[in-house]
Symmetry: C2
Subunit: 192 residues, 2 copies
């Protein structure tokens, strides 16, 4: 299973056997049942998680109790509360499993020590952080400027795999609309 | 002036003379008059800009002609259209100067070749990209969950220097509210 992580990294940098061993010896394997938490708000996000199987989400609960989903992560994706992970301070996000899942965890300390041992890992994380920042920029632009129906169309186009697996109620929470409104939008799209 | 960039980098990594020379020999100096563009939507964002003096903003114009500001950058800050800069594709953002400004530009090609020459630069950009991602996460959370008055209070607290220099109409466009509503909020805060 950990080959998935090696393959993901090797899209960007080639690792020798020693580097692969170095990496895998610090990653911690963890299984989560559906609905189980990897992180709860107020806790320090000690780990960044690479998803081997299943599906996780990160979300924020506002003062009215509404859940706002920041990210979904299926296999081959990373997920963490970046703010808490890099600062070491308590986080504002929850991360839980939408399906039975298996993840590989890396602590910030181990990640930083990996960077010191081989700059290839720093390059890899620099690249995926850049890509994450681009996704966030796109989402912020969408939120600022597009009506819900266009945001939904973008979501379908960008994440076709998510559509097949993630419940509609979760997708609505990601788009910032009610499940009823999402249902109405889906009706409009299937008619047109 | 370029000492400002060296100092910024040396908050994270120590450069030797050769590395400083390597960096400064590829940075291009550019002056912008107030209202002049560094980047227009539809163009490829060839450069990332480090601000030496003045103030720039990046913004997106929606289909109704409304400007949505993504970022302000005063001296000691970086600004670019990240999506376009790393993909090489045409961008969606405009970047212009709110004051007469001076910037140092680095092309993506030169940046990547700098990373190959010294991993210290990769570390530096990995760290500032992480920090940028954290800011974006915070902004997304604020947008999703806080009323305008709280977003304004956060802005004041987080960017006190911006408050003194950036016109209220620009701050309103950053917060996603009208200048009239911002004025009302300021009235409420000064009364309380």
């Amino acid at each position: 299973m950990s080959q998935l992580l090696i393959n993901n990294i090797q899209k960007y940098v080639q690792l020798n056997d020693e580097e692969k061993y170095m990496l895998l010896s610090i990653m911690q394997n963890r299984k989560l049942r559906k609905r189980q938490y990897l992180l709860q708000e107020g806790d320090h996000s000690k780990y960044s998680a690479f998803v081997l199987s299943g599906c996780l989400r990160s979300y924020f609960v506002d003062s009215n109790g509404f859940e706002h989903i920041l990210q979904f992560a299926i296999e081959d994706w990373w997920i963490t509360d970046m703010m808490s992970y890099i600062s070491g301070k308590p986080g504002k996000l929850n991360i839980d499993a939408l399906e039975d899942s298996e993840v590989l965890l890396i602590s910030r300390e181990d990640q930083l020590s990996l960077f010191e041992k081989s700059p290839k890992f720093e390059k890899y994380f620099r690249i995926i952080t850049e890509n994450g920042m681009v996704s966030n920029q796109q989402r912020l632009l969408d939120n600022l400027s597009l009506p819900a129906i266009e945001r939904y169309k973008n979501f379908i186009q960008k994440y076709p795999l998510f559509m097949q697996r993630i419940p509609q109620v979760q997708i609505a929470a990601f788009l910032g609309i009610t499940p009823e409104f999402l249902s109405k939008i889906r009706g409009q799209i299937s008619k047109s």
